[in-house]
Symmetry: C2
Subunit: 234 residues, 2 copies
C-alpha cells in the first residue's frame, strides 16, 4: 500500500456499504491508523460498519471543522510525512466536495505529499447523471444566500446562465429549508425552465424527478428534512 | 429489483472492477437484459468483466451516439415501458456526464420513467477531491474550443471566474492535445493561479498534482495519450 493521503467517501445515509463503496476502499481503510475526520463519533461508526474487526482504540482521530486552524492542519499531516498512510473522512459522501477536507488536501499538495481519492457516492455527479440535463457543462454552487432578496437574485442569475451558457446549475439547501427553496425556484424561474429535484440519493426513499417549473406548480413533494440537491436547466 | 433505467458507470481504464465499482452494481447488472450503450463491443467486454457467467447472446444492445435520433432513443425505451429494467453504459466513467446518455435520460424523465444512477468513478469528482481546490463551488466545461484564439479567450475567461466567483474551473482535452493544453494554460494564466493536473485517475499511473502556473513552468510531465482533467483555482 502506497503512503498517501486517502480521501475516503462514506455512505449518504442509512444505506449499506456494499451499495455505494467499492471493495477496494475497505482494503485501504483497514490499513490506515490515522484519520482526519469531520466528526469523530460518526467516523468511528463508519469504520465499524466497514469492518467490525477494526480495533478503534488503536486508531488516532484528528478533528477537522471550520475552527481547525492552518497550523493544526499542518500538524495533522506529520504521520503522513513520517511515512504512515492517512485517511480523510467527512460526514456524508466525498470529502472535500461540499464538505470539509479541501484545506487539508491543499496543504498536502503544497507539501508535495501524494493524494489518492477513492470512489464513492457524490450526490452532485449522481444527480447530474439522472437529471437528463447537460453533463458536458455544469456548475455546483453549494448553498445559496439566506437573505431573501440576495437569494432571489442568485436564483435568477443562475437561471440566466442556463440560457446564456447551456450550463446545468446545481445547488443545495439545509434540509429544513428545502420546501422554501423549491417554492422560491417556482416563483422566480420561467415556466419552461426545468427543475430536477434529487432527494435521498442512494437511500431507500430515493426520488429524482425532472419537470418544468410549470409542471411542478402545485405538485411539489414534501422535502422537509430530506437531503436534497436542486438542478436547473433549459 | 425495481423496474428503472439504471445508469451504470464503468472503469476509467485498465483497472479492476472491485477498485471502482460497488458490489451492488453487479447485483443490478446481472438482472438486466436490455442495454443502451455508447459502444457495443466495449459494453460486452465490460459485462464479461463484471461477471464472466453473463450470457451475452441473451442480451440486446441499443447503440447510442451523436447520430442516434430522438425517435430512435424513444424507441429504445420500449422494453422499459413494457416493464423490463434497462441499463445505460458509456465508454468510460459515468454515463451522461461528459459522455453520451443525457438524451436518453431526459427522454425517460419526460416519459415519467424511474431513473436510478449507480455509483462509480467520475474523474470530475475525484479530481475536485484531490486538487485541494474549492469543492463548494466548481464548474465543469467539457472540451474548450479548438480554435487557438477562442481557446485562449476561454482559458482567460475561466481564470477570471476563479477570482471573481471563487469557483474551481475544470475542463478536459483529447489526450493527444493534452501537452498543448497544459502549455496554453501556462502561457495565458497568471503566475500565481493554481493548476491541478489529474491524469490516469484510478489507474496504475495515477498522477494528481497541484502547483502554481509559475511552479509548473518547465516542469510539465508528458501527458500525451493519457486521459487528463485540468483544474484551475486561486
Amino acid at each position: 500500500m502506497e503512503v498517501a493521503l486517502y480521501l475516503l467517501p462514506v455512505t449518504l445515509g442509512e444505506t449499506s456499504i456494499d451499495s455505494v463503496l467499492p471493495p477496494y476502499n475497505k482494503e485501504i481503510i483497514v490499513q490506515i491508523k490515522h484519520f482526519i475526520v469531520e466528526d469523530v463519533r460518526s467516523a468511528r461508526r463508519f469504520l465499524k460498519k466497514v469492518d467490525k474487526e477494526i480495533d478503534i482504540d488503536t486508531l488516532t482521530f484528528y478533528p477537522l471543522n471550520k475552527h481547525t486552524s492552518a497550523e493544526e492542519i499542518s500538524g495533522y499531516l506529520k504521520p503522513l510525512i513520517a511515512g504512515s498512510p492517512m485517511g480523510v473522512i467527512s460526514e456524508a459522501g466525498c470529502p472535500a466536495v461540499a464538505d470539509p477536507g479541501a484545506d487539508v488536501v491543499a496543504m498536502a499538495q503544497r507539501k508535495n505529499l501524494k493524494v489518492v481519492p477513492l470512489v464513492g457516492p457524490s450526490s452532485i455527479i449522481l444527480s447530474v447523471m439522472a437529471s437528463g440535463f447537460n453533463g458536458q457543462s455544469f456548475a455546483f454552487h453549494g448553498y445559496l444566500p439566506i437573505d431573501p432578496s440576495e437569494r432571489v437574485k442568485t436564483i435568477k442569475h443562475l437561471e440566466s446562465r442556463i440560457y446564456s451558457e447551456n450550463q446545468t446549475q446545481l445547488f443545495i439547501e439545509t434540509p429544513y429549508r428545502n420546501n422554501k427553496m423549491a417554492e422560491d425556484i417556482l416563483h422566480n424561474c420561467r415556466p419552461q425552465t426545468k427543475l430536477c429535484i434529487a432527494a435521498d440519493i442512494t437511500c431507500e426513499g430515493e426520488f429524482i424527478k425532472t419537470k418544468t417549473v410549470k409542471e411542478w406548480q402545485g405538485k411539489l413533494p414534501d422535502l422537509t428534512k430530506i437531503p436534497c440537491i436542486f438542478l436547473l436547466y433549459k
